[in-house]
């Protein structure tokens, strides 16, 4: 009953059309394969009949998804997926770095995540006082 209600929207009609189109493309692929590798006309017809029956009718539930995956790989979906994996890995690395930064902030309370440059200035002042003791206020005359 539920299937009949769903069919009001023409969903099953659409899926059956798509299945038919994919079968036609698979048949074209079989014809192309046979045309490419077989010269004898009789053997060609026999092969088309055999492969057509075996792939399109007898075991379409197996070869249908395989043909779809083969087609998707042929148009370059794998390259896009590799890009997605690389970008996802990059984002995961950013997240891990952020978490590590947060943990360091927790261990050193009072410090800011962004450096204000005060620590660098203090370090520079210390190094200058070591080089030039006159810069030290306690050593001045």
């Amino acid at each position: 009953m539920a299937l009949v209600i769903l069919d009001i929207f023409g969903i099953f009609g659409f899926f059956s059309d798509m299945s038919f189109i994919i079968k036609i493309f698979a048949f074209v692929a079989i014809l192309g394969f046979v045309n490419k590798y077989i010269q004898n006309k009789l053997i060609k017809i026999l092969m088309v009949v055999f492969m057509g029956y075996f792939i399109l009718i007898a075991s379409w539930s197996t070869f249908g998804p395989v043909f779809i995956i083969y087609t998707l790989l042929g148009i370059g979906v794998a390259g896009t997926m590799v890009d997605l994996f690389f970008v996802g890995q990059q984002v995961t690395g950013e997240k891990q770095a952020e978490q590590q930064g947060k943990q360091q902030n927790l261990t050193a309370p009072g410090t800011t995540p962004l450096s204000s440059g005060v620590d660098v200035a203090q370090r520079r002042m210390n190094s200058q006082t070591v080089k030039n003791p006159g810069m030290n206020p306690f050593m001045r005359r």
Partner: protein, 114 residues
């Protein structure tokens, strides 16, 4: 998706825009519909010729595929054609890496604002 900072959402929106582009074109410019139909019909016939199919088989298969892809489901076929065309030109990599780049820029600017 949230674990990746919404990146896959941005990439999905990019791909959705590409897929919807021919449909919007067909709605806005009515001339683009027959244009897409002609392109898809020639694409199908070229594909069948390339497969070495000739004679009656060629015309029967062409008629079936042209009816379904260039007439009944022309919007879907046009979207798929544009996606495949851009994929062949390497534009999907631009969408993926561009989304990551602009997301990084946006996050950096947000961090400075904070």
């Amino acid at each position: 998706m949230n674990n990746k900072g919404g990146l896959f959402g941005i990439i999905g929106i990019g791909f959705l825009v590409i897929i919807l582009l021919p449909i919007v074109f067909m709605q806005v410019y009515s001339i683009s519909r027959p244009l897409f139909q002609v392109i898809i019909a020639f694409l199908i016939m070229g594909y069948l010729k390339n497969m070495g199919i000739e004679g009656v088989t060629f015309w029967i298969l062409s008629a079936i595929l042209v009816y379904f892809l260039a007439w009944k489901y022309v919007e879907m076929a046009a979207s798929f054609y544009v996606l495949i065309f851009l994929m062949g030109a390497g534009f999907t990599s631009t969408v993926v890496w561009g989304s990551a780049f602009f997301r990084g820029k946006f996050r950096a600017s947000k961090g400075h604002a904070e």
